[in-house]
Amino acid sequence: MEHHLILRVVTKLLVGTIILFAFYVQFHGDFSPGGGFQAGVIMAVAFILYGLVFGLDAVQQVFPPWIVHKLVALGVLVYAGTGIWNMVLGYEFLHYGSLNPHHMSHGQHTGIIWVEAGVGITVTGVMIAIFYAFAGRAPRLGDDDW
């Protein structure tokens, strides 16, 4: 019998649901409260919960640190890339309407989704990187003490 049996079972139930909820908050951000930052934090919480219960090695097999560090930069790249692409199309930085010049409001929807995706990716990466940095230190209470 595992010592953390209850935590393990509940975590297995919850991790998928938390990720699903993160995507809900992410893509529902322009209709209701929510958006990239909240979705990123919720997404990171799923991995942090998994790491807390199953151990740092297990979560780093799913989400290796080098991917996390790339994600932090990728999100900023997506955000700034959207703005630069608007400039390439001949408008101001982050003028989303330029993505669909005939229907500016449709272009704004598209642009907001891209920008929120960038924010979400960066926040997920930063939160998980902070968790890895803290959890990577040697624990005072080893696994054998439980």
């Binding site: 209850i6 935590l7 509940v10 139930l13 919850l14 649901t17 005072r140 209470l141 439980w146």
Partner: protein, 121 residues
């Protein structure tokens, strides 16, 4: 019918608020960690169920009710789990419940005092 639903929902909401207040008083007044944890956990779970039932009755058959029920299910799973984790961590690091004069401490409980922990305490 509307009056009946209103009365029921307000009874639920007031009952749930009462549970919450009682659990808050318990957190402040109870003597040791374990009984305080008990007050927080049980009072919160019971009050949460009653409050969400009352709010479901208020909102009727809408999407809000579905969301409320989902919130209730998740809180019902995660609350006791969090309490279990906290209590378990306290027991493993060496805390023991206060015992009264006539009470005899339980012998041979797992992770008992016999096993030293690195943390001490």
């Amino acid at each position: 019918m509307t009056l009946l639903i209103d009365i029921l929902s307000w009874a639920c909401i007031i009952g749930g608020s009462f549970f919450m207040v009682v659990s808050a008083i318990g957190i402040v007044r109870f003597p040791d960690f374990w009984s305080r944890l008990h007050a927080a956990s049980v009072g919160d779970s019971g009050g949460m169920i009653l409050l969400i039932a009352g709010m479901c009755l208020q909102s009727g058959l809408t999407l809000i009710t579905v969301k409320l029920i989902a919130i209730g299910i998740f809180l019902f799973i995660t609350g006791p789990t969090a309490t279990h984790a906290v209590a378990n961590a306290a027991l493993v690091t060496g805390w023991r419940p206060k015992t009264g004069k006539g009470l005899i401490a339980e012998e041979n409980i797992p992770y008992g005092d016999a096993k030293p922990t690195r943390q001490g305490r």
